[in-house]
């Protein structure tokens, strides 16, 4: 049994006496007898903390893909970037970890200011002036962006490039069942989106595209922007926040909303979560913003202070008319990202993006020199790229795992011929020696 409650038997007896009750069971008198749990839960009794830690250590050992044992060449929305101890230490401070949503700004300036800095940093990355305090992950950011776009455009026809992360598109499809948005997935042609002519009777209200896209390819977003200009649609850009260290920002391409997965900034791979949905938009849309927003103000003494603001958009006030249902978000990851981005600074972001791109270039050149390995698309790539293989991608991944590499991600049924195609990612953590070993193992693994 856990030891996190302070009550001694004497104190329990005193407290019950104060309430005029005999037993703890009496506390539940309001619960009809008929539905009360008879007997005990089918859960083992509590055990010691070390027992539990040992159990989890065993589970952890059973994960062969753990990053300290298998070199990671997988990306696809979850990246193996350097997380320095300084970020871990600071983001792990218990004042951040164990506080609630900053409902009382006077005792929550720590979190509020960190989120204010985060919003600023995200806006600088996205090139759009308004950023919220975070959403659950990249996928839910996309959903919220589309919801905003549909509301702003007043049309629920949504065109989504199939260059957008397949999982994100799936989440969009799931939620569209509730919102009623009509979603059209637009295919890629040799790595970039082949936008159709819009039907003048049913033009899109939202156009969503990725930068770079899931295959790692760079797309000319001015095409999508023109499409939006022509139809009055809202342009949603799902961007790689590391790649924008080198690439024109969504804002510069004319995005109305920019969303991203913020995991690359200091958050562990963690089997996919908790991650961080970045969300930026134009000032025009600020009252449609989903989630929390921190603003600067002053206290009664005129000192600078921060507070959550424009709260009238939110569910606790606007209820069924709210811009979104999000309440708890991913604040700790936002604080983490603010720390990590300040650790990187102006030069560090460029450095990381450049190193990723260099590593990817070096690996890709090496891989394409292997017999039977072909580019999946010829559009330019930056830090991820897809390859066609002479063997099933799943087989390659299993073989590479034995050699100590997480080789990449099978494109699978999300893309044509995807069962024999793999998405490869190189981060700044991969050394030349590691990439060389990867290339050698890859050459072995693609032998039929």
């Amino acid at each position: 049994m856990g030891t996190y409650t302070p009550h001694t038997d004497d104190e329990i007896a005193d407290m019950l006496a104060f309430l005029g009750l005999d037993t703890l069971d009496d506390l539940f008198a309001a619960i009809p007898e008929a539905i009360r749990l008879q007997g005990r839960l089918e859960l083992a009794d509590g055990v010691g903390e070390p027992d539990v830690l040992a159990h989890f250590t065993e589970l952890a050992e059973a994960n062969l893909a753990r990053n300290d044992r298998m070199l990671c060449f997988a990306g696809g929305g979850a990246y193996d970037h350097e997380v320095p101890q300084v970020t871990r230490s600071l983001a792990g401070r218990s004042e951040f970890v164990t506080s609630y949503t900053p409902y009382q700004p006077e005792v929550a300036q720590g979190v509020l200011q960190a989120v204010f800095e985060y919003q600023t940093l995200v806006s600088r990355l996205s090139g759009l002036p308004i950023s919220n305090a975070s959403l659950y992950d990249g996928a839910t950011s996309l959903v919220e962006a589309v919801n905003l776009g549909v509301a702003a455009a007043g049309r629920n026809q949504v065109w989504v490039s199939s260059g957008v992360h397949p999982h994100w598109r799936q989440v969009l499809a799931t939620t569209a069942a509730g919102t009623g948005h009509r979603t059209t997935v637009v295919p890629l042609l040799d790595g970039t989106t082949a936008w159709p002519e819009p039907d003048p009777n049913d033009p899109p209200g939202v156009v969503a595209v990725a930068l770079p896209n899931y295959l790692g390819c760079l797309e000319d977003l001015s095409v999508a922007r023109r499409l939006c200009d022509a139809t009055g649609a809202q342009l949603v850009v799902a961007f790689d926040p590391v790649a924008v260290g080198l690439l024109r920002s969504p804002g510069a391409w004319g995005a109305d909303v920019a969303v991203a997965e913020g995991q690359p900034f200091g958050t562990a791979l963690g089997f996919g979560g908790p991650y961080l949905g970045l969300f930026s938009t134009t000032t025009a849309h600020v009252r449609r913003l989903p989630g929390r927003l921190v603003g600067e103000t002053v206290d009664v003494d005129g000192r600078r202070a921060y507070v959550t603001t424009l709260r009238a958009r939110e569910q606790d006030i606007r209820r069924d008319k709210a811009t979104s249902n999000v309440c708890t978000n991913q604040t700790l990851m936002a604080v983490t990202a603010a720390i990590q981005l300040s650790w990187l600074g102006t030069s560090g972001l460029v450095e990381v993006a450049t190193r990723c791109a260099r590593g990817a270039r070096y690996a890709r050149d090496g891989l394409l020199a292997i017999d039977g390995v072909e580019p999946y698309a010829t559009a330019p790539v930056l830090r991820e790229f897809a390859l066609r293989l002479p063997v099933p991608a799943d087989l390659l991944i299993e073989r590479m795992a034995e050699a100590g590499f997480l080789a990449g991600i099978a494109l699978g049924d999300h893309y044509q011929g995807g069962s024999h195609a793999v998405l490869v990612t190189v981060t700044e953590r991969r050394t030349r020696r590691e990439i060389d070993a990867y290339l050698a193992a890859f050459a072995d693994a693609v032998r039929p």
Binding site: F28, D45, N67, V107, A108, Q109, E117
Partner: protein, 509 residues
């Protein structure tokens, strides 16, 4: 001589030493400084121009802050000193279950074998994670009395939306077109917002004078157009809905589903289960009930458990136990339920939060979890009884894990509002309770002490409330209106923040 940058090594802004304003990291920035340090890779140094076609390349750099590690550490450490947290003191924030979060869960979440796993790694390489998720799902189903669950939703609201989409899929599969979801007027704001996103209209039912759903009113709005009823039990007044089985029967009679908002699950762990009350869909807030720390506003986790008949609709992929291998070793994999509504998260949910919750469940065990509920309810009732004379008690009967009181009389007689009580309580060394929620209670003070606070802390909290009321009675509202006095900043101008929106450092000028 010195630039316009602010000093980074000066602690004046730490409450320990005073109450200056902490500069933003941008004000600490000096061009050319850096903290980053990356590994030596020896990868060929191709120039950027050769890496990025000019059409895609940015001309400027993304301007971030340029600070030394030293200044970054001091800045963030000082920010942390301006932040209240459970680890500093009690947080009797109703509806939020701000209990103590055992540190052993931090150790679990930090295990490299959990934290360092890429979500796209195939099942053969992630058996540990799959096993963990399956174990957690089983435990949550046992606790709620349900058959199956999805662990994907990232928070309570995400769970609600998932539940509503399940509801929709269920009705659709049964050829039934319905438009409304019924919720009580005391419901949390995420409930109606989720209903809208689920494609339904909200029908609100009032609360009766005992603080429960008005059963007659409910019956009046119940018909075959109702897809479901969303309830939390205990409800947001901290009271158990005693008619729950009747409500369930009535709902099921018209073919509606009963949805359980699990934010208040802490009160009933091991005592009564939503499934046994008749609920069909249940979301849980692991970041409340299962002590995964709240992180200043997240991350959370909002798994959704369902009755057997709804299991085929659950989001996928779901972790499942497969046939054991030849040697009898358990094997795990992924499956997509046949009528799945689809994914609701980019990967598998907030996995490390899920791991924390399982650790908490296992340390406590079945016996410990029941104890959690008992002591949470004991603490709430002790405090309610102690304070019923100090404040108004609009629903004056035994509560579950939280008690809703009201500062109505205090306002009317002395001009001190719930907000003022909250702010003054900060000066007393406690976090404020939830105020003005539920909306149906005038000047609501919603107090949830949780089971991890001691009798001594409850006593100190009660005395603090009493002092605030006594102060108002003795010398009027001035002190309370001016409160808080001892915080890093004093009362904050919220209206100004909305009027002159400054949501980034760049918007300051």
């Amino acid at each position: 001589m010195t630039g316009p940058a602010a000093p980074g090594g000066r602690a004046a802004s730490a409450p320990l030493l005073g109450s200056d304003t902490e500069p933003t990291v941008f004000e600490l920035s000096v061009p050319g400084r850096r903290a980053w340090s990356l590994r030596t890779t020896e990868v060929p140094e191709v120039p950027v121009a050769d890496l990025v076609p000019v059409a895609f390349r940015r001309e400027d750099q993304v301007e971030l802050a340029e600070v030394s590690e030293r200044d970054l550490v001091a800045h963030v450490t000082r920010l942390s000193h301006r932040q209240f947290s459970v680890d500093l003191g009690a947080y009797p924030l109703g509806s939020c279950t701000m209990k103590y979060n055992p540190k052993v869960c931090d150790a679990v979440a930090a295990l490299e074998g959990l934290a360092g796993v890429h979500p796209a790694a195939p099942p053969s390489l992630t058996q540990g994670w799959l096993s963990l998720l399956v174990e957690l799902e089983r435990a949550l189903c046992e606790l709620t009395g349900m058959a199956a669950a999805t662990l994907q939703p990232a928070a309570g609201a995400a769970g609600e939306l998932t539940g509503l989409l399940l509801m929709r899929a269920w009705h659709q599969a049964h050829g039934s077109v319905r438009h409304r979801v019924v919720i009580p007027d005391s419901a949390h704001g995420t409930n109606p917002a989720s209903v809208t996103l689920g494609g339904y209209q909200v029908t609100t039912v009032p609360t009766d004078e005992r603080g429960c759903v008005d059963l007659d009113a409910l019956c009046r709005v119940l018909d075959e157009d109702v897809a479901g009823i969303m309830l939390t039990n205990p409800n947001t007044l901290g009271l158990f809905e005693e008619d729950i089985t009747t409500i369930a029967r009535k709902a099921h009679d018209v073919g509606a589903l009963l949805y359980y908002d699990g934010a208040n699950l802490n009160a009933i762990l091991g005592v009564v289960r939503p499934g046994d009350m008749g609920f069909d869909i249940v979301h849980m807030n692991l970041h409340k009930t299962f002590a995964t720390p709240h992180g200043g506003g997240g991350p959370g986790a909002g798994p959704v458990a369902v009755a057997e008949r709804l299991a085929p609709f659950l989001p996928g992929p779901r972790p499942v136990a497969l046939e054991p291998d030849e040697e009898g070793t358990a094997r795990f994999g992924w499956t997509v339920p046949p009528q799945s509504i689809g994914r609701v998260h980019g990967f598998h949910g907030n996995a490390l939060v899920l791991a924390r919750a399982l650790a908490y469940l296992l340390v406590n065990g079945g016996d410990g979890l029941r104890r959690v509920a008992e002591l949470a309810v004991l603490n709430a009732n002790w405090l309610r009884t102690r304070l019923r004379g100090t404040f108004d008690a609009p629903y004056d009967r035994p509560c579950m894990h939280e008690a809703v009181l009201s500062a109505r009389t205090l306002r009317d007689r002395f001009g001190v509002r719930a907000l003022d009580v909250a702010k003054r309580l900060l000066d007393e060394g406690f976090h404020a309770p939830t105020i003005y929620f539920p909306l149906i209670v005038d000047e609501a003070l919603m107090i949830e002490p949780t089971e991890t606070e001691s009798l001594q802390t409850l006593e100190a909290l009660a005395q603090a409330f009493e002092r605030i009321v006594a102060e108002a009675a003795a010398s009027g509202p001035a002190e309370a209106h001016a409160a808080p006095h001892h915080t890093p900043v004093r009362r904050v101008d919220e209206a100004r923040a909305a009027r002159h929106l400054v949501a980034t450092y760049d918007a300051r000028h």
